[in-house]
Amino acid sequence: MTSENKSKKAPYTIPIGPTHPALKEPILFTFRINGEVVEEVDFAPGKAHRGIEWMGMRRNPVQIVHLTDRICGICGVSHTFAFARAIEQIVGIDVPDRAHYIRTILAEFERIQSHLLWAGVAAHELGFDTLFNLAWRVREESMDLIELLTGNRVNYAIVQVGGVRRDIEEEKFARIKEGLRYYESLIDKLLKLFLHDKTINMRCRDCGLLTYDAALKLCTVGPTTRASGVRADVRLDSPYAAYGELNFDYVMPDLYTGETRGDVYDRIVVRLLEVAQSVDLIRQCMKQMPEGETLWETKMPKLLAACKKAEGEAVGRVEAPRGECLHYVRMNKSDSPYMWKVKASTYSNQLSWLEMLKGEQIADIPIIVASIDPCMSCTDRVAVVRDGKPDIYSKEYLHRLSVEKTRRLMND
């Protein structure tokens, strides 16, 4: 603590986290507060760092698929999808068309559940727990559908290198359509509850502003950037899987409100409209889905042998519910990748906190922090690589290095 902070005069420095009721995940914020106003913000992520990339560089691609599922329990499909796309490009795997459609359907279901989850959390942060409960109740429908399609509620383990593990059989279509009808009949109610509510209007309008220029400059992605008026969506900018054959457009806040302000309210608009868009995309997929295989190679040893022979590097990009998710993989004719780097969407988005929180009130911190839909478990994977050996420098480690150096110098 610096000497100026020790004085009892404003501004005060307040640490929040890593365990705090307002935070759903471990992260440490440090706020410099003057009265009720936030003057400066800093944050220290890394409280959920498990060293996933390091572990991945010791496992083969099929094993990594299960690891990518567990980078994040909410956007498991996106990470696995991005990783599989990178490996498929390196190995030269031609994914069957049907698998492309099934992957698209799953990615969109994931978006529905993730956005509803977020909507609930946002309502909770505003103190509107009735809406929180409602959003999570309607979310259970998408969880049921995901369970029907993948066999799991979380960590689906359905995307495999070269396709998907399970087909969507004809008899499941009726149940899926029933779920889609449920959401279609619900979306107007959700929009009304969230966007025409007096409290939400008062708390979210012109709160946590992120201008168009700042959104571009900070390289924000996903709904956060679209809410600031930047037209960016990986699904449209560089179509993958079945998205190239589907008919849809960027979801911008001015579609609903007629203007783009880049505040928390606009972020709610974008996410709720994307739920409706996802329902439409799943409908289109089900109509157009071709017959055929769902996996490039069903025999695991053959798939692994093909991966082992491969050499080269590739980037897999997908639009996760929170924005662009990028996996860089380099294969070097060995069982496990030579290099694997994940850039999750929150990594791009989290710096916008500094911009959004400046000048806001303490009471607005939770909703603004939540408004980018942060996912720390996605983001905390930073490791230092030296001499080809990945390493992480902790404070204790650096201290030990320092002590060792002192000893060395003394012995000389």
Binding site: E25, P26, K47, A48, H49, R70, G73, L117, R153, N155
Partner: protein
Amino acid sequence: MRLSKSLNRSLWVFHFNSGSCNGCDIEIVATLMPRYDPERFGIKLVGSPRHADVLLVTGPVVHAMKDRLQRVYEQMADPKVVMCIGSCGQSGGVFFDSYNLDGPVGDVIPVDVYVPGCAPRPEAIIDGVVKAIAKLERIQEAKDE
């Protein structure tokens, strides 16, 4: 089920994320939502460990969170029960060979109930809570005797 004087009405829960993938955390919140609705039994999430009877720990305990987990555990008032949710808290799970783990949870604080699964279903978490209540009863009975 008969509970002790201080616990005969409701069980309050504090949730601690020790570096999990969010899967279990989401399932915990899903458990508390209207479909399963354990709040009718008074079970609810609280914001402070000092108010809680049960500590739900998710994640494999990464290095940065070990000290915090111990501190949160010590802040809780007795009688208390620790539930470890998810496979990675039991054994490290899919993260077993990571360099940044100080866990599993059992190595850091004493655990009473393990709920396996990656991620466990809400039904499994509720079953774990029922076992936690039974454990609290046993603690209380032992004290009374």
